[in-house]
Structure formats: structure tokens, C-alpha cells
């Protein structure tokens, strides 16, 4: 998309805002529509736009596959780990009540953490899937 100057400039401008919006959706999931799944997709879409504009190679330099894998696994581990923390604190698995000074705080913290884990994993997985398909049949050099 070398010829499309307008798209590139506008895209570069928008991408950070998309990411910001994704973070907003992520952390306000308990107050309004949102949460990890939606936020993860939105965040990944920022990278998809980048790919469409600048090519798979360029995007993969920013977000190489090995980082994505770590993030994907990390998200799952974060979620499961919150549950383990509950276990270690003496309650049932994924009982958020014990995570804070008083139950509501604990629930707040627990939900945020697990949703964040979900968000991480969804982002990484969507990007991995996208790259898996986008990189097929890719000639040497950028996709134009």
C-alpha cells in the first residue's frame, strides 16, 4: 500500500487510539459492555491494520511470533494463577473473595486480573491466527 499515502498517515494516527480504546474496554468490563474477549480482539485489530498497511514482515518485526506465544501462554497462566492464589489463600479455586481486604475488593481485583489474562491470550491468539493465514503464499518482500 505504498501508494496510499492517505491511508498510511491516517492509519498510523489511528492505531494508538485503537489500542487505547481496547484498554478502555478491557478495564471497564465490570461497569459496562466490555471485558477481555472484546478488548483482545480490538487490540489485535490494531495490528491487523498495521499489517494491511505495512505488510506482514513489518508487523512481525514489532510483534514477533515468539513474543506472541509467550503472551498467549502468559494470559492463560495469569487466569489460572489467580485461581491458584485463591487456593493458596485458603479458599476454593477462583474464589476472589480472599484476594482483597474485604470480599468486594477481592472480587474487583480478581475479575480485573482474570479478564486481563483473557485479553492477553485473545490478542495473541488472534494475531497468531492472522499471521498464520496472512503469511501463506507470501512472496519475498511486502504484500502490496
Amino acid at each position: 500500500m505504498n501508494d496510499h499515502m492517505i491511508l498510511r498517515v491516517v492509519g498510523k494516527f489511528l492505531i494508538p487510539y485503537i489500542m487505547l480504546f481496547a484498554l478502555y474496554v478491557q478495564f471497564h468490563g465490570d461497569f459496562g459492555p466490555g471485558g477481555g474477549f472484546q478488548a483482545g480482539v480490538i487490540f489485535a485489530s490494531a495490528f491487523v491494520i498495521h499489517t494491511l498497511l505495512f505488510g506482514v514482515r513489518a508487523t512481525q518485526k514489532i510483534a514477533p511470533e515468539w513474543i506472541l506465544r509467550i503472551v498467549a501462554s502468559g494470559g492463560v497462566l495469569l487466569y489460572a494463577g489467580v485461581g491458584v492464589a485463591s487456593l493458596l489463600l485458603g479458599a476454593n479455586y477462583l474464589d476472589y473473595n480472599v484476594l482483597g481486604a474485604y470480599p468486594v475488593a477481592g472480587q474487583h481485583l480478581g475479575i480485573i486480573l482474570v479478564e486481563f489474562g483473557v485479553g492477553l491470550t485473545v490478542t495473541a491468539v488472534i494475531m497468531l491466527m492472522f499471521f498464520a493465514f496472512a503469511a501463506r503464499g507470501e512472496p519475498e518482500g511486502d504484500a502490496s
Binding site: I70, A72, S73, A80, G81, N92, Y93, L94
Partner: protein, 492 residues
């Protein structure tokens, strides 16, 4: 820690899988997976002991009481099944090291082991949970892991096999989901115990009847009841040997458990067999599946495929036991769930050893095996005898109970069908035994399979024989489970 056992069985593989996925090479993933599987087995065994002491164990996730929260509910039936799944995983994991190295390759091994862990945790989760939707979640986890695992087989047909299983499995899962949805509409709850309490009042509604039909159909696809079994032969044949061993022994059995749970606990035997024509539908299908699958397996040149069809036939036996609707029939079905897992696990692992050394599992690869790979071959012979139902093996114990249950009901034609199935088993096992004893080996240089493949095989073979002689454990648990299930409803 002991009170958290129900969740630990699922949690341990869950924590290990992402870590394994990040590792490199083949050894570390394998090591971690094996240790985790053994830990899960330990938890499952302790859980079984706890259930024997207390009857039913309830674990609420996140501290939220049912029916608002998700609970894990362990009674005799699923405790037995958990031991089976984790036990088989514990035996297949050590076995997998060499077999997977050869069939999947070191590069894809981390993914492979991660998927294997996800499979076993999915199956365990399906078994342990007391929430109908949670079943679906774990069903999808295990199914997706399965599709991945099958596709990693060496043969190119593994990809098509995996894809066709994906399509059919998703249909099955979706039917199940639709059924759950319909029940939710009518009762407002997804908790199994709660459903059991609320359903009798509304059981005439056509929504509930439709829900029942969708659920049963979806599950029967997953458990490969004729004619919904079409995905099974290819899936088993082309996947890596370790995968077939684990799948063949556990995946369909968990689906059987879910069927039993819905038919007996949630809907109750009076509704399932009285208001719904469940027996009338299941029995003919089971009988046809039994006979046709056994017959087809006789002509198969690929022994793995032969055993896959044999598995479809054995599922027919189990479904017959369920369809009888009596405590004896249910005992026989649960017994055969456990025993068949032992048999098929051992047999498929034996074939994996043959694949490792001979590069294939056709009848031509089995020629003269008695001389070139005696330990492997004799394991196959004993497993085969168990499949036929020769006394002193677990197969005999299951057959005995099944026939006894049929005689108790006076269903003589069913007795004849069961015996006909055994006869066909003699023929298809006999082919391989004859080839092994009398055939000419293509490559007579004696190369027995390595110990790390043989030891797990023989552990399962000894289990076959041990549980065929000392049947107290399995029979007592199966009978206790059947009693709990026949009582219907739930104990709080």
C-alpha cells in the same frame, strides 16, 4: 489440599499446558507432561478413596454455591472414570516419548504435549463437573485438542481425518449446546442437580422433549454410536499412535458417562425410558453397530483400522447395557467402560510399538511378529484374548455381567448378539494371531521394541489380567455407581 482434589485433577494439566507450549525440544515438554499426568492420577485415586468414604463430593468453584455457581460433583461413576482417564494418560505419557519423537518430530513436540495435556484436562473436566454448560466448555477444549492431535499424524490423510472429525464433532457439540439451551429456557438453570429437581414438573413440554433429543443425539455422535461413528475409523487410524491409545481408551467413554449422567441423573430413568423411546432407539442401533462394525473389522488390512471398528462395536455393548435401564445393565456398562479402556489402551499402544519398529500397522507388518518382536506380540495376544472375553481377563468380567443383565431381563436375542460379537472378535483377533505365529517376517533381524514402549504396554496388560481376576474393586465401584444412578435425582 485434600479438599481441593476435584479441581487439582483439572488444574495441574491446565497450568502445565501453557508452559509446555513455550518449551523447546522434545524432552522437557515430555518430562513435565509425564510428571503432571502422574500427579493428576494421584489426585484421582485419592478422590476415589474419598468418594468411597463420603459418597458424593461437592466442590464449588469460586465459592459460589450452586445453582448460581459452577460446582464439581464427584460420585462413584465419575470417580471411576477420572481414575481411568488419568491412569491411561499416566501410562501413555511415558510411552509417548519415543513414539512421538518418531511420528511427530521434535519440532512440533511442545505443541503436541500441550495439546495432549489439554485433551486430558478437557476429558477430566467433562467428567468432574456438575454443570451442564461446563460440560460443553470442556467438551470443546478436549475436541479442539483432539483435532490438533489427530492432524499431527504422519500420514497425509491425517489432515482430512481431522477435518472431518472437526465438522462432525462440532455438529455433535452444537446439538448438545442447543439441547442445553432448550433446557435452560424451560428451567432457568444449568446446574445438573438443579435440572434434575426442576425437570419432572415440566417433563411433558415439547421443548424439554426436543432438548432431550438434541442432547442425546449430540452425545451419541461423540460416543460414536452407529450410524454416527463415521468419523472414528479415520481419526483413530491416522493419528499418532500415542494419541490413538489415549483417545481410543477415553474419549468415547467420557461421552458415555455424559449420556449416563443425562439419562439417569438429570432426566431420570422413568422419564428417559418411559416417556421417551430411548431404549427403542438405542438398542437397534447398538446391535447393528456391534454386528456390522465387528464384521467390517474382519476384512481390514490395517490393524489400527480394524481395532477402530472394534471400538465402535464395543461401544455398542456399552450402549446396550445402558439401554437395559436396570442396575445390572448399568453396572455392566460402567464395568465395560473401564475394562475396555484398559484393553484398547494396551492394544493401541502395542500397535504403536509395531509402528515404531516396522513403520506401519498393516497385516503384512504383523507377519512373523511372534519371532521378531515376541514381547510386543504376546501383549497383543493377551489384549486380543481380553477383547474376545476369555476368562481371567477383564473382557470376560464385562461380558459376564452384560450377559447376566440380559438374562435377568429375559432378552435372549440380545444374549445371542453379544455372543455373536465375541465370535466375530475371535475371527478378527485370530487373523492377527495367526499372521504373527505363522507368517514370514519381512525383516527377520530380531528387533524388539524399546523398553520405554514396552513397559507401559505391559503395565496395562497386567492390569487387564489383574482386574480380570480380582474384580472386587471394579465391580464394587461399578455396582455402587449404578445404585447411585438408578436412585435418580441427586443427593445433596
Amino acid at each position: 489440599m485434600l479438599m481441593h482434589l476435584p479441581v487439582l485433577v483439572v488444574l495441574a494439566p491446565l497450568l502445565a499446558a501453557p508452559i509446555v507450549a513455550l518449551m523447546r525440544g522434545a524432552t522437557w515438554p515430555w518430562l513435565l507432561s509425564t510428571l503432571v499426568s502422574w500427579f493428576a492420577l494421584l489426585c484421582a485415586v485419592l478422590l476415589l478413596i474419598q468418594v468411597q468414604a463420603e459418597g458424593v463430593i461437592i466442590y464449588t468453584m469460586g465459592g459460589w454455591e450452586a445453582p448460581w455457581g459452577i460446582e464439581y460433583r464427584i460420585d462413584f461413576a465419575n470417580a471411576l472414570l477420572l481414575v481411568l482417564i488419568t491412569g491411561l494418560a499416566s501410562v501413555v505419557m511415558p510411552y509417548a516419548r519415543l513414539s512421538v519423537e518418531q511420528e511427530v518430530g521434535a519440532e512440533r513436540s511442545p505443541m503436541f504435549y500441550a495439546a495432549l495435556l489439554l485433551l486430558s484436562l478437557g476429558l477430566c473436566g467433562m467428567t468432574a463437573t456438575g454443570d451442564a454448560f461446563n460440560v460443553f466448555v470442556f467438551l470443546e477444549i478436549s475436541s479442539l485438542a483432539t483435532y490438533t492431535l489427530i492432524a499431527m499424524g504422519r500420514d497425509r490423510r491425517a489432515l482430512t481425518a481431522s477435518f472431518s472429525y472437526l465438522v462432525m464433532g462440532t455438529i455433535g457439540g452444537t446439538f448438545y449446546l442447543i439441547g442445553i439451551g432448550l433446557l435452560y429456557v424451560m428451567t432457568g438453570t444449568l446446574n445438573m442437580a438443579d435440572l434434575a429437581e426442576r425437570l419432572p414438573a415440566i417433563s411433558d413440554s415439547s421443548t424439554v422433549r426436543t432438548g432431550f433429543a438434541f442432547i442425546v443425539t449430540g452425545i451419541c455422535l461423540k460416543l460414536a454410536l452407529f450410524p454416527l461413528h463415521l468419523w472414528l475409523p479415520n481419526a483413530y487410524t491416522y493419528s499418532p499412535s500415542a494419541v490413538t491409545a489415549l483417545l481410543g481408551a477415553t474419549a468415547t467413554k467420557v461421552a458415555v458417562y455424559i449420556l449416563i449422567r443425562f439419562v439417569f441423573t438429570i432426566f431420570g430413568p422413568e422419564y428417559s425410558f418411559g416417556a421417551e423411546p430411548l431404549a427403542e432407539v438405542l438398542i437397534p442401533l447398538a446391535v447393528i453397530g456391534l454386528l456390522s462394525a465387528s464384521t467390517v473389522s474382519i476384512g481390514q488390512p490395517n490393524i489400527k483400522r480394524m481395532l477402530a471398528y472394534s471400538s465402535v462395536a464395543q461401544i455398542g455393548y456399552i450402549v446396550l447395557g445402558i439401554a437395559m435401564g436396570t442396575a445390572m445393565g448399568l453396572t455392566a456398562a460402567l464395568l465395560h467402560v473401564f475394562n475396555h479402556g484398559l484393553m484398547k489402551g494396551a492394544l493401541f499402544m502395542t500397535l504403536g510399538a509395531v509402528m515404531y519398529r516396522m513403520g506401519g500397522t498393516n497385516l503384512s507388518d504383523m507377519q512373523g511378529l511372534a519371532k521378531t518382536m515376541p514381547l510386543t506380540f504376546w501383549a497383543f495376544v493377551i489384549g486380543g484374548l481380553s477383547l474376545i472375553g476369555v476368562p481371567l481377563t477383564v473382557g470376560f468380567v464385562s461380558k459376564w455381567h452384560l450377559i447376566l443383565a440380559a438374562i435377568e431381563l429375559g432378552w435372549w436375542p440380545v444374549v445371542i448378539v453379544i455372543l455373536a460379537g465375541s465370535m466375530l472378535a475371535v475371527v478378527y483377533v485370530g487373523r492377527v494371531v495367526e499372521a504373527g505365529f505363522f507368517g514370514e517376517a519381512r525383516d527377520p533381524t530380531r528387533r524388539e521394541a524399546p523398553a520405554s514402549l514396552l513397559i507401559p504396554v505391559w503395565i496395562l496388560i497386567f492390569a487387564n489380567i489383574y482386574f480380570g481376576i480380582d474384580t472386587r474393586l471394579t465391580v464394587d465401584i461399578a455396582e455402587a455407581a449404578a445404585a447411585q444412578l438408578m436412585a435418580g435425582g441427586v443427593v445433596r
